[in-house]
């Protein structure tokens, strides 16, 4: 019992440190992991080998492989090229610009890290808006909201999806058949809602629309050759992702193979590439696995599983909706990665006790994915666009996000809930 109380305290304190930003999340995670293993060893319920076994190397491998591809693509100017191309294509019409920038960010985020995407596209977005003399806020918020929403559609689009796929054994194709249809509807509604919520700002038609036509996308491409090679490898990897099941290989192997092929073909300055890898994210994930492994070993999670089982009197489909809103509510305030990592063993525990957890995985994916839209701190992409907007005359505030982002979260979660209930039989397969 003491072990359960202390492991819960370590977990909650780590979460609080991450949430309150008292410590960098990787540092807070590492501290929590070390405390968990140290305490587990002292109390004889969790040791080094259990901690290592708790780390999901499939998730880490997949993330690392995709990060290498992003690191190769990042300095080529490809992301800026797409944003400038969207700006030109819009001919300065605000609603078209919103839809195009939102679509570009979403499509990239479905396959590559959406934080990098937003970091590189947001400054170009501000530039396009500023030369047109329009407020960049709707466009920046649309990019974060739509990329967060769109990322839920694929296995590699959102870190919780990577975790869920690894735990549940879902393939890339599973996400396209189960998540993509719901995400597509939610995304269209989110775009419509952003357009409605920012109707005043978007009604102002710039008087000098010809300036966007003077932008030259080709000049943003610093290294078209490398961009071409990295994109060929990325497309190849996506194709192989579809054949993951018949080939019997894990997405982590595909991503790392793609990274190896791209590195061999491009032969970049490897130190430069490795510097662009977000090691802190990988450390954070690994540390969380160790922390949650400790929670599991001390028996906290099985206690939680029993608690949920007692409440499992409502119909399974409704239970999925409750899980969706529960995880969405948490994800609006706390990083969705620790929530997913903590809930995975709980669902696995329910599964071991005979509950059909197949549909619950999807509810978790929708909840953690759409929930992040709710607040300015709900997802890293939100935090990034808000901090970049501070360099403009119209910074995005938490209050503004609550007014314009929260309705998007509520709408997308509602749509996901309704479609989840209607399509429930699909999610049981």
């Amino acid at each position: 019992m003491i072990a359960q109380v202390i492991t819960t305290l370590i977990f909650l304190t780590s979460l609080w440190l991450i949430f309150s930003e008292k410590l960098n999340r990787a540092i807070a995670g590492l501290l929590g992991a070390v405390l968990m293993v140290g305490f587990g060893k002292f109390m004889h319920f969790y040791d080094k080998s259990q901690a290592i076994a708790a780390v999901d190397f499939n998730t880490l491998g997949l993330l690392l492989g995709m990060m290498i591809l992003v690191a190769l693509l990042e300095p080529t100017g490809f992301f800026q090229y797409l944003a400038v191309w969207a700006g030109r294509l819009s001919r300065g019409r605000p609603i078209v610009l919103l839809a195009l920038l939102g679509s570009v960010t979403t499509v990239i985020s479905m396959f590559l890290d959406n934080v990098t995407t937003v970091v590189l596209i947001a400054p170009v977005t501000i530039l396009i808006c500023e030369i047109l003399g329009i407020n960049p806020t709707p466009y920046l918020m649309a990019e974060a909201l739509l990329s967060d929403t769109g990322g839920v559609a694929t296995l590699v689009g959102d870190p919780p999806n990577v975790l869920i796929a690894s735990a549940a054994g879902f393939s890339f194709a599973d996400f396209l058949t189960h998540a993509l249809p719901i995400v597509a509807v939610a995304w269209i509604v989110a775009l419509g809602l952003v357009r409605y919520l920012f109707r005043r700002e978007l009604a102002i038609r710039p008087s000098n629309t010809e300036v966007v036509l003077k932008l030259n996308p080709r000049e943003t491409l610093e290294d078209p050759k490398t961009a071409g090679k990295a994109l060929v490898v990325l497309l190849g990897a996506i194709l192989v992702f579809f054949m993951e099941e018949p080939l019997g290989i894990h997405p982590a192997f595909i991503a790392l193979s793609a990274a190896a092929v791209a590195l061999t073909w491009i032969r970049p300055d490897i130190n430069g590439v490795l510097r662009r890898i977000e090691w802190s994210v990988l450390v954070f994930f690994a540390a969380l696995f160790v922390i949650v492994g400790g929670l599991e070993a001390s028996g906290v999670l099985s206690r939680f599983v029993n608690l949920i089982e007692n409440a499992y009197i409502i119909p399974p489909a409704l239970f999925g909706v409750v899980l969706l809103w529960f995880s969405a509510g948490l994800s609006a305030f706390v990083d969705n990665v620790p929530i997913t990592i903590a809930l995975i063993p709980v669902l696995q525990g329910l599964g071991a006790n005979g509950v059909d957890i197949q549909p619950l995985w999807w509810a978790l994916a929708f909840g953690t994915g759409f929930g992040g839209n709710g607040t300015i701190i709900g997802s890293t992409a939100n935090i990034v666009v808000a901090s970049i907007s501070e360099r403009t005359r119209t910074p995005i505030t938490a209050k503004l996000w609550n007014k314009r982002g929260l309705p998007v979260m509520l709408a997308t979660c509602t749509i996901a809930s309704v479609l989840y209930l209607f399509l429930y039989p699909l999610f049981t397969r």
């Binding site: 400054p123 530039l127 500023e130 030369i131 003399g133 610093e222 970049i388 403009t392």
Partner: protein, 163 residues
Amino acid sequence: MKIDGGDTVIKNCMKRHVISISASATIRQAAQLVEKHHIGVVPVVDDEDKLVGVINLGDLLSLELPDFFNLLPDLDFVHDFGAVEATRPFPEQLDLSVTKLMQPAVYIEETCGLLRAYALMVKHDLQDLLVVSGDGSLVGIASRVDIGAAILSAWKTVAGSTP
């Protein structure tokens, strides 16, 4: 330790007439001073003429040049700045005290050697170097050309290698 290097110290080549601004002045007044005198640096001094900071032309222009430009790897693809060209600072920004925009000043004492003065300019990427007296009062300013020409003048004493 005081360096007494004759012509090789800064006080012999600096300009003694320095256009400075009081710490109680506004950014708008600093901008007017720069515009009127066509200078790139304005030292900020307190009531006792002690140096408290410096306002550079770049600091003033940073109020107009959008901050997000720093996030873009380059601007070559932007062939027309459009509405950005007409961007002006907010009036309340211009009415702030110069102390809100000033940078810590890099300065030397008037007995400083020329080569050290030049090396400091290179290290801090400065075009003008402020000179203070022993009690910290601003007494002069020297440009790269002032210092460089003074250093080169010493080459006249270097004997030629050909007879």
